[in-house]
Each structure stands twice: as C-alpha cells, then as structure tokens.
Symmetry: C2
C-alpha cells in the first residue's frame, strides 16, 4: 500500500536509462547510501529505483504493512512513528534529504511513515535491494554503518528523553534541526522554518502540545529565540541554545 494511498502521487517506473541519468545527476548522492555505491554500479541501482512524490500529510506506509520497499529522501521531510494502543503517537525520527527510510525493518514495517511536507523519494524494491546487497558487500557495509549511526542517535535521544526537562529537550531538538539545515544548505541566516506542527514536536519529544508551547515561550522570554509565526524561529543566541541542549 502507501503508494496507492489517496494523496500519494506515484510517478511510475522510468526507463532504466532515464532513471540512471536521474541517479547520476542526483543532488543527494553525496549524502545518501547511493553515494559511494552508485559510482561503480549505477546501472544496477538505477534498475531497481523509481522516483516517488508524496504530498504533506500523506502516508507512505503503515506499521504492520508488508515491507516491500526501502526509500531515500531526496527532498522534503518525512516522519516515522509508532502508534500506541492508547492512541498516542511516538515520532521516532524526522528524515531529511539523503536519509534512508527502512532501517530496522523485517517482513513488516515496524513503524508508520508519513510525509511531514511535500517530498520526493527514491524507492527501491526491497527484495531486489537485498539481492544487490548480497552481491555487493560494500552496499551492505554502507547500510550497516547507517544502522549503527541510527542506533547511536536513538540511544542518545533516549537518554535525553528520560532525564531532561521540556525546555532542554526542545533546545536539543532545535539545535539538531538547525545543524542539519546548516549542513544541507549553509547560510548565515539565523532563522529556521520548522515544517512540523507543535503536535509533531510533542510526539517526538514525548511531551504534550501544551508543554512544547510553554517550552517555546520559556526560550522566548529568555531571549534565546524569537518567534514570528509558530513555524518560524529566529535563533537569537545560538550558544545559549546549544549549552542548554547539551547540559
């Protein structure tokens, strides 16, 4: 499912050569798993790749679905999350340009993936991707590193969620997002556009919407950030924000 879902546009399988051209000129090559691999094996990778577009709010796949595809994000933001029996949602992560979607997946997806913004992805057939992995150990090695990094990040986040105040969790989230954005497109601008809602941030930080809102207000009254509209954050004191996040 996922691609057949109402708001999800599926651009269809391109001819291999056309797809290869796309891969060759892809701007996220240096960021994603394709990077080192695609150089040597462009055709094989292009052969199992198709490009996919998703509109903000649409679902790529749902926890429990048959896991037929892996993805890399080429544009926009994707969130993946688990829903609890209580109806609560835990967002496990936000994926940006170059990130791989499909780690820690077995036969079924163990989480739901939704488009936070309109976004583009490269879709790989899982079976074919796995065949490619067993043929080219470098590819599996790359992915192995990706899982390892993800594991480290989740472990760090767990520590933060368990022991830090709302204000610090928000500070950590803002600096994380700021850093990622700076890495993807460096700028001297100090304002960040947060594509996600307060609810999304709350579900990511294990807080209520109200607690997130109050944390924003707290940072604002300390002149660490300024808020235009809720999605537009100006960082007035990056150092203080980072200190808060790390302490």
């Amino acid at each position: 499912m996922g691609l057949e879902a109402p708001h999800c546009l599926f651009q269809g399988l391109l001819a291999d050569t056309a797809q290869r051209k796309l891969c060759e000129s892809c701007r996220v090559k240096g960021l994603s798993i394709c990077g080192g691999f695609a150089v040597d094996h462009a055709e094989e990778l292009a052969g199992i790749t198709q490009r996919v577009s998703c509109t903000a709010g649409s679902t790529l796949f749902t926890e429990g679905d048959q896991a037929d595809y892996f993805y890399t994000v080429t544009n926009g933001v994707v969130q993946f999350s688990k829903y609890l029996l209580s109806g609560r949602r835990q967002i496990l992560g936000f994926l940006l340009k170059g990130d791989f979607l499909g780690l820690a997946v077995q036969d079924q997806y163990s989480y739901t993936a939704e488009a936070t913004t309109n976004c583009n992805l490269c879709q790989f057939n899982k079976k074919q991707f796995e065949r490619l992995m067993s043929t080219y150990p470098t590819l599996e090695h790359t992915l192995f590193n990706a899982v390892s990094n993800e594991l480290m990040e989740v472990e760090n986040r767990m520590v933060a969620l368990g022991h830090q105040l709302a204000e610090k969790r928000l500070a950590a989230f803002l600096t994380w997002y700021w850093d990622r954005m700076q890495y993807l497109s460096p700028t001297s601008e100090t304002s960040v556009t947060l594509p996600m809602t307060r609810r999304d941030i709350a579900d990511y930080l294990c807080l209520s919407i109200e607690a997130v809102s109050r944390a924003f207000t707290k940072l604002r009254t300390q002149n660490i950030i300024a808020l235009g509209d809720p999605h537009n954050v100006r960082i007035l004191n990056l150092e203080k924000l980072q200190d808060l996040a790390e302490s």
Copy 2:
C-alpha cells in the same frame, strides 16, 4: 584498558587450537553471532578470540575509551550505560548469554560496559574482527541483523519510557527478563532471580530508586508478584503482568 582494570581477570590468549576446541564446544554458539559463521570458519574466528572473566561490579570499558575489542557474553549479565554530566546514569541495556557487546561503536566506545554479575565473555580484536567481516560478508550480514534488531528494541523501549507509568515500565522489564530467562533455560518455575539492584533497574527504566520500589510494592499488593528478598521475584499472575506490560 578494561582488562587491566582492578577487578577484571584476564585469562590470557589460548593457543589457537585450544581456543578452537573451546569455540566448537561453546554452549552459546546457537545464540550468538558465532553460530552460523563458526561452523564454516572455526579457525579464523578462534584465531582472534580470547576468553575473559569479569567479577560483578567491574568495568569492561568506559565511554570514550579506544574501542579495541568486541565481545559476546557467554555467561552472566553485563550492563552498558551512559553517564550524564549531572552524574545520572542511563543503562541502555542488559546483555545475557549469547548477546553481542560492541554494536554502534566507532573509534571510541559510546557507552560504558560493566559486569552486573560475575561473567565470562569471548573477546574479539576489533580490527581483526572487521577484517574478518570484510572477508566473509555472512559475518557482517549476521551483525547487520543484530544491529537492526537492537535498533528495533531500543525504539520500542523509547516508546515505553516516554509514555508509560512506572508500574507498567516495571511490568515490561520483568516480563522481558522472564522471557529471556525462559528462552535461555526453560523451566516451569515461576520465580525469577534479578541479578541487578534497584538502582540498576531505576537507571534502566528512567526512574528513581524510590519509584521502582513503589512500583514493586504496587505489583505486590495487586498479587501479581511476590517478593522473597528484593532479588527474588515470584510471578503469581503472569498474564496480568504481561497485560500490564503491553497495554
């Protein structure tokens, strides 16, 4: 370091043939990464393996140490954790017989590993192990699956820690430990011996010692468990305990 640490007994490198015999007869083979691999490549694995003993409370390695070794636990319980600036500790996991220690490690260890009980481990030289991985992709594949599983588990645990009451977290911990023990040595006994202290459990569940103790009392007054001494838990109503853990 680690092996030179005060309470850590190091049994020394065995002759390759002796080590191979040990590996061949090893009771955790079926559980650990050695399993499928050691059958075909016993000598290579034995060649980089040495057996290590650790007394309860001793430190195998500390976060930030040069990461020179990987391990598998052959006996006893090992915990790995991160220490915060505030002095607080977050235990990331307990490792039992067959578990691999050293996932998500780069040049330096990203966590501290301590012996919860007296324990035995197989120690692999990291560099040699990595060379073995690049020679035999099956080995990397096995480890890849291990990291993936670990990632899934941590993600599940994060959800629980973020949203569940102390009582439920404890119930989840007890059922997890019960299940693992049942898997390792099935028995019709309904009592579990917890090798870790209340502080350890607290640091694992992101709670205070007092909160853990109160959670135990709550389960006791509901006749779900009975406590002999603090380390001896009789499960009176497994179903209820599991329900509580899952809800």
